[in-house]
């Protein structure tokens, strides 16, 4: 990064006002930073920190309710905040481009990918059809998509998530903009795909000298890609500096807290206990989905094949894997939310895989699940108290007893027992997830399944919920099945780890063995792709 070059983006004293009635006055307040040519600047922060608002303000794509109220944004010296709508349209995709979080939904589903890139050229250049086509094929090759001609004519749903994100990148960079804004571009992707996309962005930006404003909540990604880092909290820029400095010598308490919350990828030594009673055992568990149709060829999807697992009391077994690996299918089979098609599931000594629904009911209590999204797994129209006691009351507990249990559990998950008569929307994401845990515990289960239970949470909240889960496991001597795609989380919470790929368990052992000395090639590839794996995030005193 040469100091002689003028910055491509200067944000000076930027404030964006929130509509009246919001929890604070400004979405973003008095933020200053620059992005130089060829530089990747990461904006990090938890949800609600205003990082996306900054990105959308630069692009001029803010929601109507939000208004930039002070400051200026200079793109190569030109103040974007003062630019007309027409001028902004001219700048978009020519000098500044943006890629988004969800490649699944960011492309128009009813238009071939090539045409969607063609729109950019058609709008901003005077090239004829043949020249445009040639340029698109060239950019598709540059983002390393196989068979550019085929991809050109493909619809988004015919491509994988990683391929779609490459299309987005191709679309953003086809006219060589000076600034690329990337809003969590790899958050929705699997870890191996994420590694490839990060590498691609870094390569392209270095080659063209593009300045990149990279928005993320993931410090692993920051360690992997950023030159400089800006930390945001509640719309204010807390701290900014070179990546190495921020990650290893943060000054502000908030930054220290955030970085300390990042789980280490090295498992802590927890000691392997073998003495507990086996709570759950699966034997060659399998689930096959077959689309039966009278007229068409039947499609068969093997979601889980020959899965052998066991969990003892007081132990946490983690299942890690990428999307589509079958980890959630296994969890759902164990809870009999779906019916396994092969194999056996022993809950204690009882085989439940083939048990008819009527007989199964008393066993339902013993296995409880906490789901991923605390916003959607609670009924918004009933109070959290009703939410917690519904299960126990279905199993014959009297209302007063159930309520007493709920009050106790609220204390267990460190929430105010007097909040039982409130509704879900009155709680934050982390609090809701605690309530979901309390609901599961109210059934006094033998096995607690956490299906990506901390994946939707901010890193600092995630840390608290993980600690809570672990504490509950120890106190109640509970068996926990922990499903996650996040290797760092798995490293911290699991005694044993099963790595799944394409429906099969490819590696199964103690966390120390699997993380320390992986044997399977897939496991190795998975670990190699984990962002920031070379970085040991320090634990700072946050006094």
């Amino acid at each position: 990064m040469s100091e002689a070059k003028k910055p491509v983006l200067e944000v000076r004293n930027l404030s964006v006002t929130l509509p009246k009635g919001a929890d604070r006055e400004f979405a973003v307040e008095k933020v200053n930073f620059t992005v130089n040519p060829g530089e990747i600047v990461c904006l990090v922060g938890e949800s609600g920190s205003g990082k996306s608002v900054i990105a959308f303000t630069v692009m001029g794509l803010l929601a109507k309710a939000l208004k930039p109220s002070a400051g200026e944004i200079l793109l190569q010296g030109e103040n974007i905040l003062a630019a007309s709508e027409t001028r902004l349209r001219e700048l978009r995709c020519t000098r500044m481009s943006m890629i988004f979080q969800e490649p699944m939904t960011a492309l128009n589903p009813v238009m071939p990918c090539g045409e969607q890139i063609d729109e950019v050229l058609n709008t901003h250049t005077k090239l004829d059809a043949a020249q445009r086509k040639a340029k698109i094929i060239a950019i598709l090759e540059r983002v390393k998509l196989p068979e550019p001609e085929r991809i050109y004519a493909s619809y988004p749903h015919q491509l994988s998530g990683g391929q779609r994100q490459r299309i987005m990148i191709a679309m953003a960079l086809v006219l060589d903009p000076v600034l690329l804004i990337a809003d969590e571009p790899t958050t929705a992707l699997d870890v191996t795909t994420q590694a490839e996309i990060l590498k691609l962005i870094a390569e392209l930006q270095e080659g063209q000298g593009t300045g990149v404003l990279f928005i993320t909540h993931d410090f692993g990604v920051v360690a992997e890609i950023a030159h400089r880092v800006a930390v945001l909290r509640w719309g204010e820029l807390v701290e900014m500096g070179p990546t190495e400095q921020i990650l290893s010598r943060p000054v502000e308490g908030y930054t220290k807290m955030l970085i300390s919350s990042v789980p280490s990828i090295h498992p802590q030594h927890r000691g392997v206990r073998k003495e507990g009673i086996t709570v759950l055992r699966t034997e060659k568990l399998g689930k096959v989905y077959s689309g039966k149709s009278f007229f068409q060829k039947s499609r068969v999807v093997k979601a889980a094949v020959d899965v052998d697992l066991d969990i003892r009391k007081g132990e946490t077994l983690g299942i890690v894997g990428e999307s589509g690996s079958g980890k959630s299918t296994v969890a759902r089979c164990i809870a009999r939310l779906i019916d396994p098609t092969d194999g056996k599931v022993f809950l204690g000594d009882t085989e439940i895989a083939t048990m008819p629904a009527g007989k199964l009911r008393p066993h339902r209590r013993k296995v409880q699940i906490v789901f991923q999204d605390p916003y959607r797994s609670m009924n918004p129209r009933i109070t959290v108290g009703e939410f917690i006691i519904e299960g126990p009351m279905n199993f014959g507990l009297k209302r007063e007893e159930a309520m007493a249990r709920a009050r106790k559990l609220m204390e267990t998950v460190r929430l105010d027992p007097n909040a039982l008569d409130r509704f879900p929307h009155q709680f934050s994401g982390g609090q809701r997830q605690r309530i979901c845990i309390a609901r599961a515990l109210a059934m006094e289960p033998e096995l607690l399944i956490a299906d990506e239970a901390v994946s939707a949470l901010d890193v600092s909240v995630q840390k608290q919920v993980l600690e809570l889960l672990d504490e509950i496991r120890q106190r109640l001597n509970l068996a926990v099945l922990f499903i996650t795609h996040d290797l760092r989380v798995a490293a911290q919470i699991c005694d044993y780890v099963a790595v799944m790929s394409k429906g099969r368990v490819v590696e199964y052992g103690s966390a120390e063995q699997v993380f320390g000395a992986p044997r399977d090639d897939y496991t190795k590839a998975l670990f190699a792709a984990a962002p920031g794996r070379h970085w040991e995030f320090g634990k700072f005193a946050t006094a």
Binding site: M59, R89, C93, T123
Partner: protein
């Protein structure tokens, strides 16, 4: 795709069976004797019984049903009790005005409601949006014959721009045909416009919140392109569905509208047939309406594939 069409066509059979049984039973179980209607006010019970015998109404009900179904399977829809013609002839005579009315109404309604729905969505909360929404409520709640008579009063009687009622065949004089189509189609389309513009607005509003609309704007496309190329096509499927289902409203509305404007169509034929207990005519017309309805909705389903490449049968 061909499989799909074949399956759907086969599925028409049970639908028609149910409709046939229901219509047949309901006509026979409701009071009112066609023979008495035909015989007139001064007929003796013997005369009425003779007529019943001649029409086959004295047979047991299941025998009557079997005869009727057997005839239909041979392509014979029977003879009208009242008009002294075969039902097939009757329908052939009466189908043109109804066909013309529904097609004009459809074109009219879609041409008006889709653009105003899109505009209302784009300018959500504006005065234009509110007017469209108010109109939609009004269009739904005012009965067709009220709208019809209001239009006749204003445009035919007060202003004298258009004829009050009547029908001229399209082959006889195209201009006069059009003149006489304007008011009925307008009347019939009011409810339809209200329905489609509402659904267009809702559907476009939903699409406008999608990520790919944000992407389109981030590409520097103009609002018009974003709206027409990206939003409308994605919003098409629900709009088409409602248009397909709405055909039923059109067919029901045709009965009233044809009566108000004196169009000699199937709607009026149905009313006349019902009043005179003309069983064969009623049965056939209703069966025909159900076939049309099922086939139109099949066409709508097929048309989805044009708008959304993800839909494959």
């Amino acid at each position: 795709m061909l499989d799909f069409i074949a399956r759907r066509l086969v599925a028409i059979i049970p639908v028609l069976t149910v409709v046939a049984v229901l219509v047949f039973l309901m006509l026979r179980l409701t009071p009112g004797d066609p023979a008495a209607v035909i015989a007139g006010d001064n007929a003796t019970s013997d005369q009425i019984n003779d007529i019943r015998e001649k029409l086959g109404l004295n047979e047991p009900i299941w025998t009557q049903f079997a005869i009727w179904i057997g005839d239909i399977l041979q392509g014979n829809f029977g003879e009208s009790f009242f008009f002294k013609k075969t039902v097939a002839e009757l329908i052939a005579q009466r189908i043109e005005p109804t066909l013309a009315l529904t097609i004009c109404t459809l074109i009219f309604a879609v041409a008006i409601s889709v653009p105003i729905g899109v505009m209302a969505a784009y300018r959500q909360g504006s005065i234009f949006d509110r007017i469209v929404m108010a109109f939609a409520v009004l269009g739904f709640s005012v009965p067709g014959f009220v709208i019809g008579y209001c239009l006749i009063y204003v445009f035919a009687i007060e202003l004298g721009w258009l004829p009050v009622q009547g029908y001229v065949r399209i082959g006889v004089n195209f201009w006069q045909f059009l003149e006489r189509m304007v008011l009925p189609s307008l009347t019939l389309s009011v409810g339809f416009i209200a329905l489609i513009s509402r659904i267009t607005r809702a559907s476009v509003l939903e699409v406008l919140n999608e990520d790919y609309i944000r992407t389109a704007r981030a590409k520097g496309l103009s609002n018009r392109v974003v709206l027409m190329r990206h939003a409308l096509r994605n919003a098409a499927v629900p709009i088409l569905t409602v248009i397909g289902l709405g055909i039923a409203i059109l067919m029901g509305g045709a009965v009233v509208t044809e009566s108000v404007f004196g169009l000699p169509g199937l709607g009026r034929l149905t009313v006349e047939a019902v009043l005179s207990r003309d069983f064969p005519t009623i049965q056939t017309v209703i069966l025909m309406f159900s076939v049309v309805y099922v086939v139109i909705n099949l066409l709508v389903d097929i048309s989805y594939t044009i708008f959304d490449p993800r839909i494959r049968y």
